[in-house]
């Protein structure tokens, strides 16, 4: 087995020319090492360790966009004042991932590229209108977060491509946001359903802009355009938020059909949409 340890983007780009289906990129290791012990896992011929590539680690703000390097860990994102201030829903989501030990190693890029339908960082990034940056031999390109996922556990990344960073505009003043995670227990749980919302209201309590991104609800990640359209121009009330929840649940059934979990998920998705919108509006649930 070959082991490659590029130290910068130039070296990383060079390793991509030989990358194949038998190449395994290793970020924080928290998903891939679990996978590697499964019977179906085919042993890679080459391991590319991303942990020493300096450019992938930093968190910064340039030209009005926040950039988080793909190798930033959940703990680093939580601790970053820039994120706490300008994208608090992402910090909240990172804080609810796994355990301290997992957050210290697991990376944002790894969470996105693993492409689990319940990945906790994806709904906040969708609600933040994020783009991801992809590196291949030709150079860097950006892809909208909504276009990045093909199906559960599969992204648009080709064998010789790697995710290098995430970009999004900081939340402007007056925008509320929230992340809510429903797990089987409080800590160290994989999300059953998660939700992120960004909400802007005017001083009459009328919704000017809303972005709603649920996780584990649709087979491929997306925002709920129908619910967003319904809410825009409406007042922030329990009833309107509940109706947005019902629209989301109907959308889920329209796409996935009625499945074994639907009797549970239909009312729960609706209630969680209402809850996350109330949280984003800074209101308590009645």
């Amino acid at each position: 087995m070959n082991y490659l340890r590029p130290k910068n983007l130039t070296e990383l780009t060079r390793t991509l020319s030989d990358a194949s289906a038998a190449t395994q990129f290793v970020a924080g290791g928290t998903d891939v090492l679990v996978e590697s012990r499964q019977p179906y896992f085919s042993k890679p011929q080459t391991l590319i360790d991303l942990s020493r590539v300096d450019e992938l680690k930093s968190i910064s703000e340039t030209n009005g966009l926040i950039r988080i390097g793909a190798m930033a860990t959940h703990s680093e994102i939580i601790a970053q004042p820039l994120i706490q201030r300008q994208a608090p829903l992402l910090a909240q989501a990172c804080a609810e991932i796994g355990s301290q030990q997992i957050r210290n190693r697991g990376t944002l890029g790894g969470n996105i590229c693993n492409a689990s339908p319940c990945a906790d960082t994806v709904p906040p990034l969708l609600a933040l209108d994020a783009q991801v940056e992809v590196l291949n031999e030709q150079g860097l390109r950006r892809v909208a977060m909504q276009e990045f996922f093909v199906k559960p556990y599969q992204t648009v990344l080709q064998k010789n491509e790697v995710l290098t960073a995430v970009y999004f505009p900081p939340l402007p003043d007056g925008y509320g946001s929230a992340f809510y995670k429903l797990g089987r227990r409080k800590a160290l749980a994989i999300s059953r359903i998660n939700m992120a919302a960004v909400l802007k209201t005017n001083h009459h309590g009328i919704i000017e802009e809303v972005r709603l991104a649920p996780g584990s609800v649709f087979p491929v990640w997306k925002r709920v355009a129908a619910a967003e359209r319904f809410l825009t121009g409406k007042k922030i009330t329990d009833q309107n938020f509940m109706q947005a929840g019902q629209i989301t649940a109907q959308e889920m059934i329209k796409i996935s059909g009625r499945r074994w979990s639907t009797p549970y998920k239909e009312p729960v998705v609706a209630a969680l949409v209402k809850r996350v919108l109330l949280m984003a509006a800074g209101l308590e649930e009645q």
Binding site: M1, N2, Y3, R5, V26, G29, T30, L33, V34, S36, R37, L47, D49, S51, S75, G98, S99, Q100, Q101, I102, N104, R105, K186, A187, L188
Partner: protein
């Protein structure tokens, strides 16, 4: 085979390993440091917790090559000069050890918490230890021990 050099409990080691080796395997199989326990191997139980460059990690999920150049503390490095760490003393005093399998990981998570947050609240303690499972004690004795160790360490400063 690849070469990995790292510091473990203030001692330097250089090892020739297969690239698929985990930090846990490096510690237990290559170096005989069996105080670090192998539990679930999927990052849920925390029995394999060690401190790596000041942060707790599940050593079962750290590829050994990522530990190259790092500074590791295992349970074998917590007592100094034959004297137990206040966290270890408190675990004994509060009956926070039953079968003992989770204890090394628990102690490392607790020591790391107190290093960063010398006077944690109950909530801080619960959060810091959420990645360490114990099937014997029901946790209360462990939380009490960590609180007691925090007080003891404060009075010594």
């Amino acid at each position: 085979m690849i070469t990995v050099s790292l510091t473990i409990n203030k001692k330097e080691y250089t090892c020739e390993i297969d690239p698929q080796t985990t930090l846990l395997e490096l510690l237990r199989e290559h170096l005989g440091l069996t105080g670090t326990k192998r539990g679930c191997e999927i990052g849920e139980c925390g029995a394999c917790t060690v401190i790596m460059d000041g942060l707790t990690v599940n050593s079962c999920l750290v590829p050994a090559f990522q530990a190259d150049g790092s500074d590791i503390t295992t349970i074998e490095g917590i007592a100094s000069n034959g004297k137990l760490h206040p966290v270890q003393e408190a675990f004994l005093e509060y009956d926070a050890v039953h079968c003992g399998f989770c204890t090394p990981g628990m102690v490392l998570s607790a020591v790391n918490l107190l290093d960063n947050n010398p006077q944690p609240s109950q909530e801080d303690i619960r959060r810091a230890l959420a990645g360490n499972l114990c099937r014997c004690t029901g946790y209360q004795q462990i939380f009490d021990a960590v609180q007691a160790a925090s007080k003891k360490m404060k009075s010594k400063r």
